[in-house]
Symmetry: C2
Subunit: 253 residues, 2 copies
């Protein structure tokens, strides 16, 4: 039985303000919590789980059993999970997690850093992080007006990639101006087609806002303008689809 004040506290973390005050956030569902326990066990404060999930998870491997037993685990019953959850369909387990130390914006020779200018939709941000992780990107740098990393919709849409990426929030114009000699690829409706471009080997891949693309003050700081060629009639691509196509063109292979 979880106390009412604890339930209220956790539920409060659906709000950005409370996440900012406490430096805590919520991770939900078996897949996400298992990725959390594998990649960032040190961040876990408490786990609230149905006993059936805990038993199944602990029996997966001795390492899983250890991870669970060193966590502060509480069993939930009935609709306790639903009363804490930020999700429409709460699913077996919820973790209370400490935010990481804010990441430092990094762009190094020999690798691609992804830079996001004002991606506002949490689902898009989460999906872009998941895609970046698939393609082996390690560093993501977001403008200050990009959606908040610990928004539950962002966290869940990453499908676990949030635990593996370094995601920094900075003034992108200042940061881009400080880069030394690395190429900066600005994406948009104009520029060189990725069809005629070799896979991008290093530098910054700059992706813009869902509605207006990359801001003009950032665009002028780029060394290359690139685009996804259009052969049909759609006016634009969804932001996370466009990001995926561009990331697939990075030469991590």
């Amino acid at each position: 039985m979880v106390s009412k004040s604890k339930v209220r506290f956790i539920r409060g973390l659906c709000q950005k303000k409370i996440r900012q005050q406490t430096d805590l956030y919520i991770v939900e569902g078996p897949h996400m919590v298992e990725e959390l326990l594998q990649w960032c066990p040190q961040d876990v404060e408490e786990i609230f789980a149905e006993e059936a999930w805990a038993t199944a998870y602990a029996s997966t491997s001795p390492a899983c059993k250890d991870r669970l037993h060193t966590s502060s685990l509480h069993y939930v019953v009935g609709d306790e999970l639903a009363s804490m959850s930020c999700q429409q369909a709460p699913n077996q387990v919820l973790a209370l997690v400490r935010k990481r130390t804010p990441a430092i914006a990094v762009a190094s020779a020999g690798q691609i850093t992804l830079a996001l200018d004002a991606i506002r939709d949490p689902g898009n941000l989460g999906t872009i992080l998941r895609t970046a992780d698939w393609f082996g990107i390690q560093h993501v740098v977001c403008s200050l007006d990009t959606a908040e990393l610990y928004n539950p919709k962002v966290v869940q849409a990453t499908m676990g990639s949030i635990f593996r990426l370094s995601v920094a929030y900075v003034d992108l114009a200042v940061w881009l101006q400080g880069l030394q000699g690395l190429p900066v690829y600005c994406t948009g409706l104009q520029g060189e087609s990725i069809r005629s471009l070799s896979p991008l080997a290093e530098g910054v891949l700059l992706i813009g806002n869902e509605a207006r693309g990359v801001s003009e003050n950032l665009r002028v700081l780029a060394t290359h303008q690139i685009t996804i060629p259009r052969y049909g009639h759609a006016e634009s691509l969804n932001a996370s689809v466009a990001a995926g196509i561009l990331l697939a063109h990075c030469g991590n292979g």
Copy 2:
């Protein structure tokens, strides 16, 4: 002033059952309704709009003025639009639209047809159709258990591409077996990397369900197995991101 029974009728079209009984569906918002009037004016039954939108649209061009004046247009005031709408944020205009005659599944030499196996999420289906339209695909063939084309979430996520594509629903196994000599590219976690593959010039690009990928009974009917190479740790890609990366590899250029 729109009658209460009319409001109730339109609101009912948020339900699949009512869409099936009436062969009608709803299109919402300026961008979508303007695309509708441009590409499928013959399908429009009635338009319910704030006068400000109608005035602005009619003043765009003489063609726009004509399209609007040959439509059955009703002005709405106050919260009338909200009471009809399927959207959380109704936006200026809503159209009552007749479904098209069901499309016939087509795969022709010299072009790519997109085949979707059980894409269940309406947002994913709409986004995939938008992306297909961007890349110049004309024919999409869906399994019978793919999300319904006229679901409001699908319609809105297409951003207008629904008016330009032929989208058929068939038993995919039967249809694939009837194809004569065209390549069928099955996508999944195994197969030849698209990095080492020339852009696909013709045939069927078969994309699978969000959770389980392409069904085994369809996979065995494919002539090629292809995959998006992974360099990082994410377990999978979002279905519409994966579809976008694969469509970007089709040689419509």
